[in-house]
């Protein structure tokens, strides 16, 4: 049962389709495990439908319906094109393996990272996985820009509380924290960093929420 949820305004931007893919991924992973937020998004999707209905209407060209019919007649019947295969988790699709088996790069002490930004081409956000070994501590640090994080495994604690699996947290440059991995498992998180990345270089700029 997750306790830290995305803000309503963020869910609205998700429902409107305005979030970048990495941010949408964080929301998706949370939604898949949080029925409370799923029902919030249901309401927001309905809000989108009602907003669309309230707007002006623009007539479409005369022939459009005909060309749509031509299009559906030239393709297989609906039952055959419908998606019926069971869903593979989006994380597995993205990473191709269990999060524990990835080519982690050891950084400082208890912290390992894996930059997966390249899986999201044409984005200007950095996307990273981070691992803090069970019981491990990350040095105190602050953040630059906004960083959205979702806990994929285990849990970490800092002065703001305990963040368990599928908890969602956004940190700003006002937040300084000193996370500790709690519980028996390594704590693995996915973070999206919205600030421009290049300036400080990969080694000086290490990653949130554990290290920077």
């Amino acid at each position: 049962m997750t306790r830290h949820h995305p803000e309503s305004l963020t869910l609205m931007e998700f429902s409107a389709g305005n979030l970048s893919e990495p941010h949408a991924l964080c929301i998706r992973l949370h939604l898949d495990e949080c029925s409370l937020c799923r029902s919030r998004v249901d309401t927001l999707d309905s809000l989108g439908a009602v907003m669309m209905e309230r707007q002006p209407k623009v007539s479409v060209s005369e022939s459009m319906f005909e060309s749509i019919l031509a299009k559906i007649d030239s393709s297989p019947s609906p039952q055959h094109t419908a998606k019926t295969s069971p869903r593979i988790s989006v994380l597995q699709k993205l990473l191709g393996d269990d999060v524990n088996n990835l080519p982690w790069k050891r950084q400082l002490g208890d912290v390992s990272v894996l930059d997966i930004t390249e899986k999201f081409p044409d984005q200007n956000e950095q996307v990273v996985l981070q691992k803090l070994v069970s019981g491990g501590k990350a040095p105190a640090h602050t953040h630059r820009g906004n960083e959205t994080t979702i806990v994929l495994q285990g849990a970490f604690a800092d002065q703001k509380g305990v963040f368990n699996q599928w908890d969602f947290v956004v940190l700003t440059d006002q937040d300084e924290h000193k996370p500790v991995a709690v519980g028996g498992e390594d704590c693995i998180t996915l973070s999206v960093l919205s600030a421009p990345v290049k300036l400080t270089g990969i080694f000086t700029r290490m990653l949130n929420p554990f290290i920077r």
């Binding site: 309503s8 999707d45 809000l47 439908a49 669309m52 707007q55 002006p56 019947s77 609906p78």
Partner: protein, 199 residues
């Protein structure tokens, strides 16, 4: 007309006319029903495409959405979403998809739009929370009637014009905080805001 109305359930009365039509398309490929949906939704969808900067692709978007409606109608479950909500999410995803494809340079897309943005009722195995969902749509419509226009304007820009809260603030020349508080007031009425959320 078709067999699907045979078994009235407790929630049957809640099914709106568009959802009934969509069910017919799904169950029996009813082209008349499909055409009625087209007449009603296509002009809305075209405005949607134009409002969010896809003017030159507006008709293409409407077409793609309708082809997709036809193909997926068999997956539509009126107990999980009203037709208008279902169609809105298809349009939203189609727009995201088209923009992704236009932007795409060389790299392959690893994650598909629908891995991230789902269509309500598909790929879901949860116990039916249908009455809750349908009420949510009725409640949204009802609540909007009582919202001040300034709140609706802000929300419309987010949904229809794909503007961030910051962009809305710039355009209306009001502080970002004002935009956010208008949205929060509205979402509070819609009960989307969590009681204990410290925002």
């Amino acid at each position: 007309m078709t067999t699907l109305e045979q078994k009235p359930t407790r929630g049957e009365g809640r099914k709106d006319p568009w959802s009934q039509l969509l069910v017919k398309v799904g169950k029996s490929q009813d082209r008349q029903a499909y055409h009625a949906l087209f007449e009603h939704f296509a002009p809305q969808l075209k405005y949607y495409a134009m409002a969010n900067g896809m003017a030159s692709h507006a008709e293409e978007l409407v077409q793609e959405v309708f082809v997709s409606i036809w193909r997926r109608a068999c997956l539509y479950d009126w107990q999980k979403a009203a037709a208008s909500t279902w169609i809105f999410t298809i349009a939203r995803n189609q727009r995201i998809d088209m923009l992704r494809k236009m932007r795409r340079t060389s790299a392959e897309m690893q994650v598909e739009t629908e891995d991230l943005w789902q269509i309500p009722g598909e790929d879901e195995n949860e116990p039916v929370t249908s009455l809750h969902r349908l009420m949510s749509e009725r409640r949204v419509r009802e609540s909007l009637r009582h919202l001040p226009e300034e709140q609706i304007t802000v929300i419309a820009k987010v949904y229809m014009e794909q503007k961030s809260h910051q962009m809305v603030a710039n355009e209306l020349n009001i502080p970002l905080g004002t935009v956010k508080s208008r949205v929060r007031l509205a979402l509070n009425k819609l009960k989307v805001i969590l009681q204990d959320q410290n925002v």
